[in-house]
Symmetry: C2
Subunit: 267 residues, 2 copies
């Protein structure tokens, strides 16, 4: 099946998931949508996040995607079931793979989770982890300043270190040995987070496991693309293209060739 895989995010962060899909599934075509006009989702209500996600899913469906990857942690945590009920193709999220990965890593059964306010408030990571292993202790913390700090480019900076220390202090006190980076922007400041948490804490980036889940699913259902031609990557955004391309150039192994701004409210 050479139909593309649909991937979406509230903005540019989901490109870290695209990068991992390209690496693990180089033969697959991808249609990406980033809601750059309405980003960020992390502080919005469930109703609004559902409305926006439904529009995006209708857009991806119009592109005849064979599967949908919800690259946004906030959407994955809040409205995954609703999205799956709206479409016939399989839907892969980032929260379940991230939870599974953390459970595999932890030895002392203390897992930390960081994410947006909406993701943390949803308690979704906690409930997936407890479903796999009820004996695990979970500590979670919303980190609303991480996204603006990354977007301002303060990757290696004393202010980022200062804020990292404040947000993660509690998690450190709980002696966790695995920390889920539950927002697609956070892997970009993994060095600052790692320095503060120390070598004893494994940083879990759900992108890797998400691409692995996608691959397993496509194989199981016989949906892998068997064609030999070069893969097609199409990117769509709801606001200006330039910012998106700048960010993509930092994250992706390939140049963005097809990019288009669309009116997502029409879907």
């Amino acid at each position: 099946m050479d139909a593309p895989i649909g991937v979406f995010d509230s903005g540019v962060g989901g490109l870290t998931v695209v990068r991992e899909i390209i690496r693990q599934l180089p033969n697959e075509n991808i249609v990406y949508f980033g809601d750059t006009a309405r980003v960020p989702y992390g502080g919005k209500s469930k109703d609004t996040i559902l409305k926006y996600s439904s529009q995006i899913v209708r857009f991806l469906t119009s592109k005849n995607v064979k599967a949908i990857v919800v690259a946004c942690n906030t959407v994955s945590a809040l409205v995954l079931d609703e999205i799956q009920s709206e479409v016939d193709v399989p839907v892969i999220d980032v929260v379940r793979p991230g939870a599974k990965m953390a459970v595999e890593f932890t030895k002392n059964h203390h897992i930390g989770i960081i994410g947006t306010q909406a993701t943390i408030k949803s308690g979704k990571y906690n409930s997936y982890i407890r479903t796999i292993d009820p004996s695990i202790t979970v500590v979670s913390k919303a980190c609303p300043l991480f996204v603006p700090l990354v977007e301002e480019g303060l990757i290696e900076d004393r202010v980022t270190d200062d804020i990292v220390g404040r947000y993660l202090q509690e998690l450190k006190e709980y002696d966790i040995d695995a920390l889920i980076l539950g927002c697609t922007h956070y892997p970009l400041i993994r060095n600052a987070i790692g320095r503060y948490m120390g070598d004893g804490v494994k940083l879990v980036n759900p992108a890797y496991e998400t691409a692995k889940s996608l691959k397993a699913l496509l194989e199981e259902k016989g949906m892998r693309n068997q064609k030999e031609e070069a893969s097609r990557y199409e990117y769509y955004v709801s606001d200006g293209k330039d910012k998106f391309v700048n960010f993509a150039d930092r994250v992706l192994p390939l140049q963005v060739e097809h990019i288009e701004a669309i009116n997502i409210e029409n879907f």
Copy 2:
């Protein structure tokens, strides 16, 4: 005329303008719209800001407002003319009053402006100032982290002081004696900004002069509300009401009694 005044902003920041209107025009009724679902506007493109503003103006028109106050600096700077061409009622912005006030204050003819990326990039403050007095030197700087820092509550904090110092260093070197706080969130960290800039720099909050312009306009056109009954204040948002009410309680002199979430995309 007891028709209300329509006031809008990308989110909650415009309430600092509402506060000033209530103070200077206590007899007027107000309908406020805050686009809390799609906030922030400061990094978006002009096309998107125009689309969102047009929807809001259509909503306010449906409430039969007699004048519209654009409380958002970004909207004022980018699409004021387009908004005015869409409606028959007068439109008041925050940029022209802010520019006028700064020109009145400056003695050494060096004015600084801080705002969102979109506001600063528009050059609108600069061009208004130069129209009034071409001899004035203008230095401007975008401060994208100020809004997230305010929203995270870091009003008096070493991180805010650190970021203030970095953003404003250049402005200090230019020996300005007036600094326009060109974003409705910035007056909330005026102490940190004032400490860094020193007593010789007047901080200009456009909200005061905006309310004054509105008052002068209503008087000139004979549009003041002459009725004696208590004023009505109605608030509308595009996302969750709770966050809005929490912020409003910190800013407004009166409790929010009428608040409603609406689907702004329908306008």
